[in-house]
Amino acid sequence: MWLRERSPFVIASALLGVLILLFLILPVADSIFTSAGGLYAALMSEGVRRSITTSFYAAFITTLIALLLGVPLAFILSRYEFPGKRLIDSVIDIPILIPHNAAGIALLMLLGPRSPIGSLFSGVGISFTDTLFGVVAAMLFVSSPFMIRSAEEAFKSIDPSLEKVARSLGASSFQTFAHILLPLSLRGILTGCLLTWARAISEFGAVVILAYNPKTAPVYLYDVFISEGLKGSAPINGLLIILALAVFVGLKFLAAKPTKPVY
């Protein structure tokens, strides 16, 4: 519906809305415009390119792991009642609640070389401090709730009778999941992937504490900001924003176009 109402309340709401939108848009637009001249140089810098590659790669791996581990949990949460379910619900919200550097410290304590779990992993050659594993672990911690919640919502929106019918027709629970639940929740799961990926690639606090190296783009940006100040970091800043926006918008466009009409 086109906004036609002229009541003072609606007008005031719209004006207040414009304020917050400006506040969201201006910093981003400003970064892009002021850095326009230096973008190419930034793109050509070895450090920038390496950090961006690390970020994309780690966020991709993170999304895959979240998909593999999060979707089954989302399925259980959406379909079954069991004692302790509310507790699990709260656990999933923890990463969204706590400061991300606190999450980083918590992960370091758990996975660090001197911890029992950390030494167990280092026995098979996996270390979480200053490795890509660490980057992924930090990203996974802060981003997996987005996958779980999106998939859970998608599953919940599907009529359970469909599964009952499928079962009565002879489909096992796995066949029912694969043929009915998954295709019908595909968009929700894709959205979950997108949000997870976006959250992972933008993570700084947890990553910088657990794995300062290999540098992800946000960590590299912070590095340059500390050593060279605003002037040196602005082009890299602009580049990162443009890249993130481009990928996000592109993926969102893909996710919004189902191949078959659903419902």
Binding site: L169, S173, H179, V262
Partner: protein, 352 residues
């Protein structure tokens, strides 16, 4: 194929099934009739295997299937809103059961083709469910359930979501499918008419229990208790006392009235008379009917083809008249009328 429930109990959320014992024979069309919330859907789901009973056993063809998952029971299930798979075409919907059972594509298509043909939905094959009408969806849902050659066909309120004009052909279709495929049907509904028209036998369900099972005629004529009587249309239901029995006729006192009924046995009972068995006239009728009372019309309710009258004859009575005779008699609230009914129209129900 046959179904047997032995002492089946289940509590699930707000719904209950309590100590249900039932045997349905091979090829029988059995209708479970009851009000909303009686536990009818839960009963179907227990048979289909979506729940495990808290107590009791479920047998199909003499085999105990209580611990078998739904996909092993070969029970066709058509839920209340037909729930076709929205991302599959009509053809894919019907073929789904065959596909997951590993039937080869060629054979599958042949079977699906035959079913679509038999249900008259061949031209819908490539359509998605959202483009179908209610009646078409129901045909597809039934075809989908039949595709796997089920031992039992479970129908949950199969006609209630259809508009009145679609109901009739689908009802006939259900009869036809039952005869053509020889499949045992368990059909759940709250609609008495549906039960009367389709059922070989019916079971009345109330508050989780099967309170009366029998042939429709038997259940509708001889309800066992007050609930069944009310549910099958004995709208005039009074507490009474049989004072005397003479020559097969009982004199029953209800308030200030004495009603004559066929039957016997002294003592307290419920007296039931269907409103359609009561004749309304302006003057006393000279007929063989044993019961005639004078009263005043207190309420008039237009029910379409018929008018339902509430008449005070000392006790509140309901009677049905056609619209035509309602107008001819010039009836309105306050009119003085005579209610007449035969002694054989009166049911005496022994209070428990």
């Amino acid at each position: 194929m046959s179904l047997e429930l032995k002492g089946v109990c289940k509590e699930f959320g707000d719904f209950k099934v309590r100590d249900v014992n039932l045997a349905v024979g091979e090829g029988e069309y059995f209708v479970v009739l009851g009000p909303t919330g009686a536990g009818k859907t839960l009963l179907l789901e227990l048979i289909a295997g979506f729940h495990r009973p808290d107590e009791g056993r479920v047998y199909i063809d003499g085999t105990d299937v209580t611990d078998e998952p739904p996909e092993k029971r070969r029970v066709g299930y058509v839920p209340q809103s037909y729930t076709l798979f929205p991302h599959m075409t009509v053809e894919e919907n019907i073929g789904f059961g065959l596909k997951v059972r590993g039937v080869k594509k060629e054979e599958r298509l042949k079977l699906v083709e035959r079913l679509m043909d038999s249900m008259g939905i061949s031209k819908l094959r490539g359509r998605l469910p959202m483009t179908l009408s209610g009646g078409e969806r129901q045909r597809v849902a039934i075809a989908r359930a039949l595709a796997v050659n089920p031992r039992l066909l479970l129908l949950d309120e199969p006609l209630s979501a259809l508009d009145p004009r679609t109901k009739e052909p689908i009802r006939r279709e259900l009869r036809r499918v039952h005869e053509a495929f020889g499949v045992t049907v368990i059909h759940v509904t709250h609609d008495q008419l549906e039960a009367l028209m389709l059922a070989d036998r019916i079971g009345i369900m109330n508050d989780g229990r099967l309170v009366q099972v029998g042939e429709p005629r038997e259940v509708f004529l001889n309800p066992k208790d007050e609930f069944v009587a009310r549910f099958v249309g004995f709208e005039n239901l009074f507490e009474g006392e049989v004072e005397a029995v003479e020559g097969g006729l009982a004199r029953v006192r209800v308030g200030d009235l004495v009603i004559e009924a066929v039957g016997g046995g002294l003592g307290a009972c419920l007296v039931g008379i269907r409103p359609e068995d009561v004749t309304v006239s302006l003057k006393p009728l000279s007929s063989s009917a044993r019961n005639s009372f004078r009263g005043r019309v207190v309420e008039v309710e237009d029910m379409g083809a018929l008018i339902s009258l509430s008449v005070d004859v000392g006790i509140p009575f309901r009677a049905l008249v056609t619209k035509r005779s309602f107008t001819d008699m010039g009836l309105r609230v306050g009119s003085e009328v005579y209610l007449t009914f035969k002694a054989s129209s009166v049911r005496l129900i022994r209070a428990k």
